[in-house]
Amino acid sequence: MQALTNRAKPVDRKPMTFVERLYLWNIFKGMLITFKHIFKKKATINYPEQQRPFSPVFRGLHVLNRDEQGRERCTACGLCAVACPAEAITMEAAERKEGEENLYREEKYAAKYEINMLRCIFCGLCEEACPKDAIYLSETFAPANYQRKGLIYGKPDLLIPDPVTQPEEYKQALGNRANKQQQAN
């Protein structure tokens, strides 16, 4: 049969030579190969202590952002929920009362804001949809949980620490990417 490509290799059906039949020499060659692997670099990293860097476009766990004075940016417009292809986001809006101006930036805010991390596909469309820069995807991922309800993240889980009262935690939550951006700006 005419070969269609030149990639096919003919099978070698020659009878084994004496050295091959002895088998010992081939065992020795194989053992040399495994011995070489002793000195090779290990592919494993010690995970919790050492972590691989995320790619610069990594989309991880959501963060609800605050402005410079520590007020929540979210106004519960619902655009993120509409944009969400997995329908993972729900929220309930509430009106800001007198004396809550230092908590919420706009007159309307999200009293309840939940993302179901089991449904979420981490596409980042909510981040794109948000007109207030209130939600963005961070550089971490949702840790495992024993119950389904444990993976429905509410506002306490999602909100970024207050930059006024907890500046260090805020900086950590922003992540390296945001820090780099700030430096660039």
């Binding site: 053992m31 190969i33 495994t34 011995f35 002793i38 090779k40 670099k41 494993t44």
Partner: protein, 353 residues
């Protein structure tokens, strides 16, 4: 007159008891760390890291494994023969430990003016004893597999038994050639000859090779681990075993490996002989006890080398097919060992003429 009959050398009994306890516990600890070393060697050869969480470098891993085995549920199948089912792992363990009795672990030591030889029993048929006990190891596999009342276990037991019997033959034949050179079955004499002269492996390279291959087969190590071939026999003769009974079977394999490494080192690689050093002169220089320590250390280094070889081969070569195993045993190794024996005999006769 009665007093002489009743005079019993209690020191002798105590000395031997201490030796037995010491050697048994040393071989148990070594078997324990062989499991660690096996996993580490496997990991390193596969570019992984191996156990490293339990203790520094994972050194406490064997303890954790042992604890796990002890904590597991002990299951004895309904249809099995209870007594034999329990006897199987016991025999395997017993046979594995018993061989250590005749191996000389070092020269003599001096304890409070008493010369103690580091060998439990210096019997004049040392090698025959080793052979007898090694053959007994088959009973552990055979009884354990048969008593499980399970097709796979029985097949594995049959395989194990026939494999061990087939490979004992070339092993014995290769040793006959060695015995023609040494002229003694006593292990201490064989080591003593190598202390002064050249190691036996120089005179008997082919014999050593055959012995090595047979030792792999006798220990049920890859490439001859057909009795426990997990992809065809579903873990083989210890399929029905759980908890520490399984642990005993696995442990017996590692002790066997240690002991056969010790025997190979003793018979072919000079035993406790320190290479490139005149042992008698060094003894005068450093004293008896320190010398025994050196010799013991050298012997254990040789054993460690062989154990590494066992592991190295295991993680390099795939398992033989059963007919290949039998072909190798009966059609290659037996004739080779016979030729080796005849040639050695002829050369010995020719040189002594």
């Amino acid at each position: 007159m009665y007093s002489t009959l009743l005079a019993f050398d209690w020191l002798f009994v105590i000395e031997k008891l201490v030796l037995i306890v010491g050697i048994v516990s040393i071989s148990l600890v070594i078997a324990m760390y062989e499991t660690w070393a096996e996993r580490k060697v496997a990991a390193i050869m596969q570019d992984r890291r191996g156990p490293m969480r339990a203790g520094p470098m994972g050194l406490l891993q064997p303890l954790a494994d042992g604890l796990k085995l002890f904590m597991k549920e002990e299951i004895i199948p309904n249809t099995s023969n209870r007594i034999l089912f329990i006897l199987g792992p016991c025999l395997a363990m017993l046979a594995a430990m018993m061989t250590s009795a005749v191996i000389p672990w070092g020269g003599k030591i001096d304890v409070f003016g008493r010369e103690v030889s580091l060998q439990i029993a210096d019997i004049n048929i040392g090698i025959l004893y080793v052979f007898a006990v090694v053959s007994m190891g088959v009973f552990g596999i055979m009884i354990g597999g048969w008593a499980s009342n399970n097709k796979f276990s029985l097949m594995a037991a049959l395989r194990g038994a026939s494999q061990a019997i087939s490979y004992e033959l070339p092993m014995g034949l290769s040793l006959i050639a060695l015995l023609m050179l040494t002229g003694s079955l006593k292990l201490s004499v064989i080591v003593g000859q190598q202390l002064d002269g050249v190691w036996n492996v120089v005179y008997q390279p082919l014999g050593f090779l055959i012995f090595l291959i047979c030792a792999f087969a006798e220990c049920n190590r890859t490439p001859f681990d057909l009795p426990e071939a997990e992809n065809e026999l579903n873990f083989g003769y210890h399929q029905e075993y759980s908890s520490m009974k399984l642990g005993f079977f696995l442990f017996a394999e590692y002790i066997n490996m240690f002991i056969s490494s010790a025997i190979m080192a003793t018979l072919f690689f000079g035993g406790y002989d320190i290479p490139f050093v005149n042992d008698a002169q060094l003894t005068e220089k450093v004293g008896l006890n320190l010398m025994a320590l050196f010799q013991g250390g050298v012997l254990f280094a040789k054993i460690a080398g062989f154990i590494f070889l066992f592991m190295w081969v295991r993680w390099t070569i795939p398992r033989f097919r059963y007919d290949q195993l039998m072909n190798l045993g009966w059609k290659k190794l037996v004739p080779l060992a016979l030729i080796n024996m005849i040639v050695t005999a002829a050369v010995v006769l020719w040189l002594k003429k």
